[in-house]
Symmetry: C2
Subunit: 190 residues, 2 copies
């Protein structure tokens, strides 16, 4: 029941749906549970779904040619995640999504999202703004990579994810910032 | 007239509008001409519009704390550009947009886009997919930054912008890739 209320409150910030419309919308989501460490999307996979986080914390990450891991996004409750390039273009995944903690998510398929958007103008409106916000987050992440000032990037991270420092292992925060654990400790204590 | 046809063909790939609906849509765009080197958006500016490129080539770029320039995007005909973070959040611009060549664009205000999306489901559909594609491009740009393999990144760039090497000064291509001009020449000749 909690999942339904969380999604309803999330949608209501952007779109107006009647109770009946929301129930129909919600009926297309599949609840799924994952254990800490479990993989949801692996590089190379076919990607059919996007995920709305109900509880726990996921990470979306990329491993480059030098086997170095970069974290693109931490996904907390009410965040959406997937490999959207793979999902929208129907190409194999280039990023991975796995679970930092045990997690519950709601899964929506590509086909169902398109059907819901075509059927309900307000749902299309919701997904347009959801993607607008995702686009902004992606641009911020890109600018944080271009900006060499690690202190600024660390401060931005804490604004974006206030509970992160207590929730997530330090080596993952360092992998998000692209710094060593020692540099991270220094930033946190300065 | 060319501008109108270019926009109409562009929209028709994603959305179905009647001739009358398209004329109404088009009436909200303001044609603007810029000279080579002219600034369209400067860091710190208030941003009210997004731009659909009719002719010429723009660049969206970021100057970091160490005064190093990074190019986020080259915008060619039928591409859209703006500082979307500033536009959507109504915050001051953090990126710059200027003209690599003389350029003609169609300018659409934030207010008019929202009015058009609210009035026409098909226009909302168009802008959802426009942003989906922008999101994918932004993610690709981010992954190219995380991947240290410069040769792969250069090849991806030529796929994304096939005419780029002849159109754009070499130092700007180098600034997009984050390499020196010498490295760029070596990649191009290899």
């Amino acid at each position: 029941m909690e999942a339904k209320i969380l999604l309803q409150q999330h949608i209501a910030k952007t779109a107006s749906l009647t109770e009946e419309e929301f129930n129909y919308f919600f009926s297309h989501f599949k609840p799924m549970s994952f254990k800490k460490g479990q993989t949801i999307i692996g590089a190379g996979d076919k990607v059919d779904c996007e995920y709305f986080v109900i509880s726990g914390c996921l990470k979306a990450f990329f491993i480059n040619d030098e086997i170095k891991m970069y974290i693109l996004q931490f996904a907390m409750p009410t965040w959406w995640t997937s490999d959207y390039t793979a999902l929208y273009n129907q190409t194999p995944a280039t990023i991975n999504v796995d679970c930092i903690t045990d997690a519950e998510v709601l899964c929506l398929s590509n086909t169902d999202r398109e059907k819901l958007c075509a059927g309900f103008h307000q749902i299309e409106h919701f997904f347009r703004w959801r993607t607008n916000k995702g686009y902004i987050a992606s641009q911020k992440r890109l600018l944080s990579f271009m900006n060499n000032n690690v202190k600024t990037r660390y401060e931005e991270l804490l604004i974006l994810y206030p509970q992160l420092y207590n929730l997530v292992p330090k080596h993952l925060i360092a992998a998000y910032l692209g710094v060593s654990r020692e540099t991270l400790s220094r930033l946190h204590n300065s």
